[in-house]
Amino acid sequence: MDLLLILLTVFPLVSALPLMLPIKAFDSRKTVWSYALLSTLVSLLFSLIVLYKFDFTNTGAMQLATSLSWVDAFGLNFGFGIDSISLWLVLLTTFLMPIIILSSLTAIKTRVREFYFWLIVLETFMIGTFVATDILFFYVCFELTLVPLYILIGVFGSDKRKRVEAAKIFFLYTFTGSMLTFAGVMYVAWFNTMLPTHLFAAAGTWSFDIQTLYLAAANMSLTEQSWVLGALLAGFAVKVPLFPVHTWLPLAHTEAPTAGSVILAGVLLKLGTYGLLRFALPMCPQAVVEYAWLIGIFAVLGVLVTALICWVQTDVKKLIAYSSVSHLGFCVLGLFALDADNTGAVGAVMYMINHGLSTGALFLCIGMIYERFHTREMADMSGLGRAIPAWASFTVFFVLASVGLPGLNGFIGEFLTLLGAFLSPANVLGYEYAAIAGLGMILAAIYLLYMVGKIIFGPLKVPDVHNDDGTHDLKDLNTREIATLLPLAAACLILGMLPNGMLNSLQAPVEQLTYSAKAVATQANDTFVTDANATPLRLAIDDHTPEFAPGIAPQLTDPTHAPLTKTAHRAAER
């Protein structure tokens, strides 16, 4: 039993507790801040140890796996395990946390203890969602991320009147969606209990182990899969957010404190795409192939419509918030591309990481401006390049990463997702999707350069905050602020120039998750050609015949997919 992942997950929660105890030392803002920074740095260290221990020759397997029983009778466990997809997302989280805390020193001056408490608690839940191998454990963490962010927005937001409303909409919107997801998950678990026990190890019993549920879900009919897909999408699409269920995001972003925005854009949105990849693709392969065109259309619409919306924003933060919606459209497009080499899905995981870094950094940059001028209206400022050159250089750099300039990180994800969509089989997506979504590349350049042109270039104009011609606020970045942005800039550059390590490590796990959907896509293509009426893939639940072998789960016998089976056996042994 390997305790490392448990430690990694629980440590932030435990370390946050003292902040709420009546400890005198924590009355000082600086002490609380240092303590929080230290805590997140220790978490980063733990995640680096995980990285060190991670076996990169077998990236697809759930490594460092361990499990604590929760409710035995119900097959409930706290299952921990990490494959390379989870690993990189956990690293993204632990990497962003110290940066966020570093940036919050001067931004948060009241109720400091609570602020850092909730921030660190949030880290536990975020890591929890990524390392969970038990679907209910995942779901609990997924839902619990809402609580700290609700408080961060509602209490520490920028505008007293609007922030409560924004927090409420954020909470209820995402919560409603994920309730449906919960229904879908429960259905799959229940479905598993109804299966004949001889099918696979944990069939016919209550289990929430993800790998078991994959096997169970493979036996669902297309109709059932479609409903489960719909239920999963209800939660995950809102989280991503996919057009047209995105309207909570600009609201939440504009009102959230900088730290909240960075976490939201950097990690929390990825829970949606992560969920789609981890659950929707392997559990509902037939439905995914059946409805990919529809999801693709919404993704493309999202890319284009929100990009145009970005262009007419006057509030910088809202512009970046809408750009997140536009960017994640590419990511979803890549996830559902299902091309033979997984170019799209691997690109989509890259996109998650890269978007977290560059958009997170842009929110930090905007936060620094807001701290100085207490405004984010583009009309109020102009030509800041002359006044605060270091800030301007960083912002331009991250804008370029966000635009997808080759050599920086954004390009890798964008290029691969579009290539994946282009190569996607005609019955899934197709080149039209890539060609139309590609227009988003042009629009991204238009709205981001529009922003740069408005606030960084042009004649110098500084908002007059203290009635002293603005000179009071004209301080360029201090060392702490540079230390906040520099690691992000370095990460953007490194991932842009040397993405191959990450790309290679992602291929095995992504292949496992997309395998069945891809098999359905090719098979459906063939079936369509040979016999339009053949429905060999659809198996009814009451069809209790010996041929009830999982028709579209070749992982069971395919030796190249051993890790999946192995984990399934492991689950059974327990």
């Binding site: 919107y173 909570w248 390009f411 282009f422 190569l423 590349m441 350069l449 042109g453 960084i456 191959n500």
Partner: protein, 701 residues
């Protein structure tokens, strides 16, 4: 010099850019940026010279020099690798050689500027991207360079970022280029889909194999790839309909206009098409389209240049026009002609821009032709340097531009006449000749206006050099034009002038470049319309399949082909000689007309211009193309954005909020005492889940 050094070429300027960025940080360090940048471009030039013979002799797989694998997913693999063939070497000479000269000039030109270090950072970064572009072994790396030069162009056009027009121009350049880049990216996707690789060497050799296979039937991908890539080329090289950004790009500092917007970056499109010419040949419509667009752009931009008063704008439209020639060249299957003109154009257009920069510098930012006259006494060196450049641009006999332009026009004429001649190329050649006349006229219009006639000048209002330490003690410069110092400004120009006059002769008489192109992938794999084989097999004939054995071997092996060859060769030779005579005459005619109208008899010119007021107005306003684009594309998109935003706020979000109220109302009706929103929503959710679950069950069973 070991060939491995060639791998360093892009990285030295990158290092230079990083050092310049460090220099930005402290005002005291700024001065170091210029020399660092010049060195970081000049060392690659020395390496290029040093490895030239070794690099030209590379065979087969040795031509690909890989550093590391950049990205790979499944079968899709992209290396950080360079493809070294003679074409690469020609391009490297242009980029690093002309680049060093321009950077040296810029050390003087930009002296005392506040953004001195920032400027040189941009220049070094540009050379990194440009060398990567010309050396890339695969399309994705080429795309990196391609977008990289676009970025540097953006940063350098926006150098004077406090001027709104510079910011607008920078943005316009980047966005218009992105439109082309989307086409390029889709072209890469389709290339990968078709060829299963993005490696240039493999793609071109496969395309050559397809072309030489008489049974090969072109697929729709073969037809589409060139058109998608072409879009990228037209964006980068400012051709119709994407040329609009280049004239505006003159808002950048003049050395940038010379380096980025005349000598190097804008020729990337020509390079790309030349490099991939076998792929373009696979589509029967691709190269004629390239030639047509090139020919039309050449003439179109030439007419606009006639009526511009801004010194740099004249040269900008002239660049668009000359790029049109290059496309006409590659479109006429003469990648030699296209690259030759690219090479000579780099010399004389850089020279023209830099001398224009000197004039502008001397007149404190004055660029209006109407505000200057007879400056030859004040600036004698600049005057005669620009004269050399003007001769070359006008195609005066035996200057560089004469030979290269003649090659293109003659090749187009060869395609347009004879047994299998196509009328299209014949007309394009005639258009090219007409453009040559316009070119000679507008070039010397400018020169006679600036340097001849009565002395008269109005100083500009650019006092950007107020913190200029070089001229700090010399206050007269603000009132009187003065000659530029020899070092670092005029000496590089002398080198360029030498190139502008003699580069053509050297290339023409040594045959060095022609041979280089023949041994590179830019060599057209087939000679269209030359059907010499008596057998009724392919309509195409292979000349060279990217190896060093040239036509002579083929000739000895196929006597029948050889006779056809020599007949064809004689005809082509005759056309070349004829075109030389015609274009010499045209150049002299253009210069003569310009001398009459803009030097000897200026009042008559004004009368003529007044008579054709409408035409002049339309030309002066560049056919109102910018206004047209604004009305048809920009404004509607922006309106659409506003519309979408309102829709998003009112309808989509409104709908969600309304739906959110339903459970609340339901909650009230059931339990009127509890009116908390939370409970309402919670109830709604439970209900929703129950209904959803019921539906699922109902459907499933």
């Amino acid at each position: 010099m070991p060939i491995e050094l060639i791998k360093l070429i892009p990285w030295i300027p990158l290092l230079g850019a990083v050092l310049c960025a460090v220099c930005c940080m402290k005002p005291a360090w700024r001065k170091a940026a210029g020399p660092i940048s010049v060195l970081s471009i000049f060392i690659p030039f020395l390496i290029t010279c040093g490895v030239y013979s070794a690099a030209s002799g590379l065979q087969g797989d040795d031509k690909v020099q890989t550093i590391y694998q950049w990205m790979s997913v499944g079968g899709f693999s992209v290396n950080m690798g360079y493809f070294i063939d003679p074409l690469t070497m020609i391009m490297l000479f242009v980029v690093t050689g002309i680049g060093s000269l321009i950077a040296t000039y810029a050390m003087g030109y930009m002296k005392g500027e506040r953004g001195y270090a920032r400027f040189f950072m941009g220049v070094s970064l540009f050379i990194f991207a440009m060398t990567t572009l010309v050396m890339a072994d695969n399309l994705v790396l080429l795309y990196l360079g391609w977008e990289g030069v676009g970025l540097c162009s953006y940063l350098l056009i926006g150098y004077y970022y406090e001027k709104p027009e510079a910011v607008a121009a920078a943005k316009k350049a980047f966005i218009v280029n992105r439109i082309g880049d989307l086409g390029f990216a889709l072209g890469i996707f389709l290339t990968y889909m078709t060829y299963d690789t993005v490696s240039l060497s493999v793609v071109t050799s496969k395309a050559v194999a397809f072309l030489s296979d008489p049974n090969y039937i072109a697929t729709s991908a073969d037809l589409w790839i060139p058109f998608l890539l072409m879009l990228g080329a037209f964006g980068k090289s400012a051709q119709i309909p994407l040329y609009v950004w280049l004239p505006d790009a003159m808002a950048g500092p003049t050395p940038v206009s010379a380096l980025v917007h005349a000598a190097t970056m804008v020729t990337a499109g020509v390079y790309m098409i030349a490099r991939l010419i076998p792929v373009f040949q696979l589509s029967p419509y691709a190269l004629p389209t390239v030639a047509t667009i090139g020919g039309i752009t050449a003439l179109f931009a030439g007419t606009i240049a006639l009526c511009q008063y801004d010194l740099k704008k004249v040269f900008a439209y002239s660049t668009v026009s000359q790029l049109g020639y290059m496309f006409l060249g590659v479109g006429a299957l003469s990648s030699f002609g296209g690259i030759f003109h690219l090479f000579t154009h780099a010399f004389f257009k850089a020279l023209l821009f830099l001398t224009a920069g000197s004039v502008m510098h001397a007149l404190a930012g004055q660029l209006d032709l109407r505000a200057m006259s007879g400056l030859r006494k004040k600036m004698p060196v600049t005057c005669w340097l620009m004269f050399a450049g003007c001769l070359a641009l006008a195609g005066f006999p035996f200057t560089a531009g004469f030979f290269s332009k003649d090659t293109i026009l003659a090749e187009a004429m060869v395609r347009g006449t004879g047994e299998h001649g196509s009328n299209l190329y014949f007309f394009l050649a005639l258009m090219g000749l007409l453009t040559a006349l316009l070119t000679a006229f507008y070039t010397f219009r400018l020169w006679f206006r600036v340097f001849m006639g009565p002395e008269h000048f109005e100083m500009g209002d650019d006092h950007g050099h107020s913190d200029d330490d070089a001229h700090g003690d010399d206050h007269s410069h603000a009132h009187e034009p003065h000659e530029m110092p020899w070092w670092p400004m005029n000496i590089p120009l002398v080198v360029l002038a030498f190139g502008a006059i003699f580069a053509g002769m050297i290339v023409h008489w040594t045959g060095w470049m022609e041979h280089s192109i023949e041994t590179s992938t830019a060599q057209p794999a087939i000679a269209l319309n030359i059907q010499t084989d008596p057998q009724p097999t392919p309509a195409y004939e292979i000349i060279t399949v990217s190896n060093t054995t040239d036509t002579h071997d083929t000739a000895t092996e196929h006597p029948a082909a050889a006779t056809g060859h020599s007949a064809e060769h004689d005809r082509a030779h005759g056309i070349h000689i004829l075109m030389m005579w015609i274009s010499s005459f045209i150049a002299l005619l253009g210069i003569g007309l310009a001398a009459y109208f803009h030097w000897l008899n200026r009042p008559l010119t004004d009368k003529v211009a007044a008579k054709f007021g409408m035409v002049v107005e339309v030309l002066y306003n560049k056919y109102y193309i910018d206004e047209f684009y604004d009305l048809v594309i920009v404004k509607p998109l922006r309106t659409l954005g506003h519309g979408f935003y309102r829709f998003d706020q009112a309808v989509i979000h409104g709908l969600v909020i309304t739906v959110g109220y339903i459970p609340r109302l339901a909650g009230w009706s059931i339990q009127p005492t509890q009116s908390g929103k939370m409970q309402g929503y919670g109830l709604g959710m439970v209900l929703g889940v129950a209904i959803a679950a019921l539906l699922v069950f109902k459907w499933a069973f």
